[in-house]
């Protein structure tokens, strides 16, 4: 059975060790925070200068001055601090974020990521902080469905869509598998969703899958 989105997020959360500073993109990546147990301290950073987000606010406890990069209301963890955008991206660009989790349109076997525009002629594609995160984070894990809605592979030899970053992805979490991106080797299967076979995943993948 392929993973649900929530299971994909939980699977990724399992791999985040205590103490990491983690930036979560919009969409499925945001769900990762719900699956890190409160006993395991992870520092969630947000591009808008929030370092140390807590869980979503309880009803009635919302503070309109506290939002994340996805514009959702948040709370602050104990130990949290605030910086402005220039300092926030200095932290991101300078390699101080242990892990960034982003969604993706395509990931290539050399680690290239495409996740912001679907053609060169997009009307006003929106990049946000994705390129900064792709270039700057210590590790970049992509979490996405294994294929597009109409079944085309999103895991490919070379990206067809405009790139977000070069050779930046270290690992991909999909509904079917977890794949490491290894320099000089390409995609290496780390694990499969329960009941899913390697052949099945390979059939839905546009690049060769290696096993250890």
């Amino acid at each position: 059975m392929p993973f649900t989105r929530d299971q994909m997020a939980a699977r990724l959360a399992d791999d985040v060790p205590e103490g990491w500073c983690v930036n979560l993109g919009i969409g499925i990546p945001t769900m990762v925070a719900n699956h890190v147990p409160p006993t395991r301290e992870v520092i969630f950073q947000s591009e808008n200068g929030v370092i140390g987000m807590g869980p979503a606010p309880a009803k009635g406890e919302e503070d309109p001055w506290l939002i994340n990069a996805g514009k959702q209301l948040i709370t602050m963890a104990k130990g949290a601090s605030f910086v402005g955008h220039a300092d926030s991206f200095a932290m991101i660009r300078g390699g101080h974020i242990d892990l960034c989790v982003l969604g993706g349109f395509e990931v290539a076997e050399n680690g290239d990521l495409a996740n912001w525009a679907t053609s060169e002629n997009d009307t006003a594609p929106a990049v946000g902080g994705a390129m900064d995160l792709a270039a700057g984070a210590k590790r970049l894990w992509v979490i996405m469905e294994h294929t597009t809605k109409d079944g085309r592979p999103k895991i490919v030899e070379r990206c067809g869509y405009p790139l977000t970053g070069l050779a930046c992805v270290n690992r991909v979490y999909t509904n079917l598998a977890v794949l490491d991106v290894m320099e000089g080797r390409g995609f290496v299967v780390r694990s499969l969703a329960p009941g899913v076979t390697l052949e099945e995943v390979q059939a839905k993948t546009g690049a060769t899958l290696h096993t250890n």
Binding site: W65, G84, F89, A90, V127, G128, G129, M131, G165, L166
Partner: protein, 231 residues
């Protein structure tokens, strides 16, 4: 006596010229100088270059300014929003220019302008469409893009508290683009919720020293926005 506090939004915006590059702080609804943007609509300057993270929501604020044909060009990281109807229409009709800049590069280009740095190199966007036409260069075997300072004529910012020197204290995630935009323009105008006596703001809480601020106007956002901070 130094006194940067002005008594009206009109006074705060006096002198903004046609053709000005206007840096606008805020991220989402937090730290947005909404009253100053309304004031700029009233004030009348046109042919503006607007520099901010998003391209406006609905038909108010920056979207309204664009709809009125007052914005020649927008420089931002994220022209999409929950309701970007005005921008998308103008853009499709070729009536507004767009320069997309990665969010961190946008912040750093403005900081560079404020910090006297005409250009710097970054790995962000190297090898992508957004590096086209830009000088690239290798350092330690990795490609970097040269980005140039982006200076504003005017900055519109929002803060929680200010004093008559123009010192600004932000609240919650309200700093975001505000401190960097305050330092990146020739004329920085702040809307604030509270005016404090000189000396009341803690020297280590002031994120934007008054040196970067020219005019301060108190506004009342009302409701939940005015509840005292918990921390």
């Amino acid at each position: 006596m130094i006194n940067k506090i002005v008594q009206s939004v009109a006074e705060a915006l006096a002198g903004v010229k046609d053709g000005a590059t206007v840096l606008i702080g805020g991220f989402g609804s937090v730290g947005q100088p909404d009253v100053l943007i309304e004031g700029l609509i009233e004030q009348g300057a046109s042919n503006l270059v607007a520099v901010l993270n998003n391209a406006g929501n609905g038909r108010v604020g920056v979207a309204r300014l664009m709809e009125l044909g007052r914005v020649r060009k927008i420089i931002c990281s994220f022209p999409r929003s929950s309701d970007p109807v005005v921008f998308e229409t103008l853009y499709r009709e070729g009536r507004i220019e767009l320069e997309i800049v990665p969010q961190g590069t946008l912040a750093e280009r403005i900081r560079a302008a404020g910090a006297g740095i005409p250009a710097f190199f970054t790995a962000t966007a190297a090898g992508t469409l957004l590096a086209r036409g830009k000088e690239t260069r290798e350092f330690n075997g990795k490609p970097y893009v040269m980005e140039q300072a982006l200076k504003g004529d005017v900055a519109l910012v929002e803060a929680w508290e200010a004093d008559r020197w123009g010192n600004l204290v932000y609240r919650g995630s309200g700093a975001n683009f505000n401190p960097v935009m305050a330092m990146g323009a020739d004329l920085t105008i702040a809307q604030v919720q509270h005016i404090r006596e000189l000396g009341e703001l803690h020297p280590h809480m002031i994120m934007t020293p008054g040196v970067y601020v020219n005019r301060v106007v108190q506004v009342d956002r009302g409701g939940d926005w005015l509840k005292p901070e918990k921390a």
